[in-house]
């Protein structure tokens, strides 16, 4: 069982990182292999609607020059995906959006029955909109989205502030446990 986690925050060790880390620790404790990828500073462009991925049907994005095809491959080889983003203008970051668009278009129905979860860091408001934006990706790809005791949101602005958000930490820990629970069920 393998899960790949993407952090779309431009901050390497910001609040999104900490939020993802709480989930990842639970997954590892349950014996699940995790690969963590920080994409928040990469120059990932959005889909250019060339439609070539659909014509070629080879699960590859024809845009060259960035790491997207490597990420597509990692996702195809994993049993689950977790996408983390901070809240920028009440929505996800550009790198996160680019990942969703290009992975989404190039993978056909191959993500079906994989697991998904969104993780959001926020200063004050807008997190639920980010949460929905990421979940739309999972739900249109026939994936299974895992819930928790609250929406997967951690509150904090300065890097590390989320470590004081007790309810947020609990939410991410419960998310990790629920994620591992259903991942194991899907292997049977």
């Amino acid at each position: 069982m393998k899960v790949v986690l993407f952090n779309g925050s431009p901050r390497k060790k910001g609040n999104t990182y900490h939020c993802l880390n709480f989930v990842m620790e639970e997954l590892k404790a349950a014996g699940i292999e995790c690969e963590y990828i920080w994409i928040g500073r990469e120059k990932l462009q959005g889909c250019i609607a060339c439609n070539e991925c659909r014509v070629n049907g080879d699960q590859k994005c024809t845009i060259q020059g960035d790491n997207m095809n490597e990420y597509i491959q990692k996702i195809l080889e994993s049993d689950g995906i977790i996408i983390g983003s901070p809240t920028y203008f009440s929505d996800l970051t550009v790198a996160t959006k680019a990942l969703i668009e290009r992975v989404g278009y190039s993978t056909g129905r191959l993500l079906k029955n994989k697991l998904g979860a969104a993780v959001v860091a926020v200063r004050r408001a807008g997190a639920n909109h980010v949460f929905s934006s990421i979940n739309y990706f999972f739900l249109i790809k026939e994936m299974i989205v895992v819930g928790s005791t609250y929406w997967n949101v951690g509150i904090g602005r300065k890097p590390g502030e989320v470590l004081e958000d007790e309810e947020g930490i609990r939410t991410f820990q419960n998310l990790g446990r629920n994620y591992a629970y259903v991942l194991k069920k899907l292997q049977i």
């Binding site: 929905s132 739900l139 299974i144 989205v145 929406w151 629920n178 069920k185």
Partner: protein, 194 residues
């Protein structure tokens, strides 16, 4: 395996029902027991924030003048829950919102009664706003530690005719979406039942 399906449309036989029927047929074909509940014309009020449910912890809403407790008991008894709603002012209907608020809070304060059940939302729409309804319904499942099932598109059916389900049969992509949703829902239910 049992799934309870709530229709929050004021029309029992309208577009939302048309969409729900496709999902229900797939579930039944997979051997799942399905109970359909139409509550879209119920006089069902919203949460009054009295927090008696948190004090009493008896798996009941203390507002007992409507059918909420009956509906909640069906949810607790089921392995899966499907919420269907038309699009009213780009959001869900009043009755469906009442169901979400009260069933959601009572479940939470009684030790997460809906944990690890399977959920899905179904939306009927004339033109736009369905994705927002879809999110509003999904928030209920995702804060209840449930597992949400995806499909080949967001679970919505489009029909320019809001008066009846006549015309919804033309939304081929919508019909396929609901068929796939039913199959994916049954798949996860079977996996969780092992």
């Amino acid at each position: 395996m049992k799934v309870v399906v709530f229709n929050g449309s004021p029309r029992d036989e309208g577009n939302t029902r048309f969409c729900l029927n496709i999902v229900m047929d797939e579930l039944k074909a997979a051997g799942v027991d399905v109970e359909y509940v139409w509550m879209g014309m119920d006089k069902i009020q919203g949460c009054i924030s009295c927090y008696r449910c948190a004090m009493n912890k008896d798996k009941q809403c203390s507002v007992k003048t409507d059918k909420l407790n009956e509906y909640l008991a069906k949810m607790i008894d089921a392995d899966g829950i499907i919420l269907g709603s038309p699009t009213y002012f780009a959001d869900t209907t009043t009755r469906m919102k009442a169901l979400i608020e009260r069933a959601g809070l009572v479940s939470k304060v009684n030790g997460e009664l809906l944990k690890h059940k399977v959920g899905a939302s179904v939306v009927a729409v004339r033109r736009a706003g369905a994705a927002h309804v879809f999110s509003s319904l999904n928030y209920f499942f995702l804060i209840s530690q449930m597992f949400l099932v995806g499909s080949s598109y967001w679970n919505l059916g489009v029909n320019p005719n809001v008066q009846s389900a006549a015309g919804m049969e033309n939304d081929v992509e919508g019909i396929n979406t609901f068929k796939n949703l039913g199959k994916n829902f049954a798949y996860l239910l079977q996996k969780l039942a092992v």
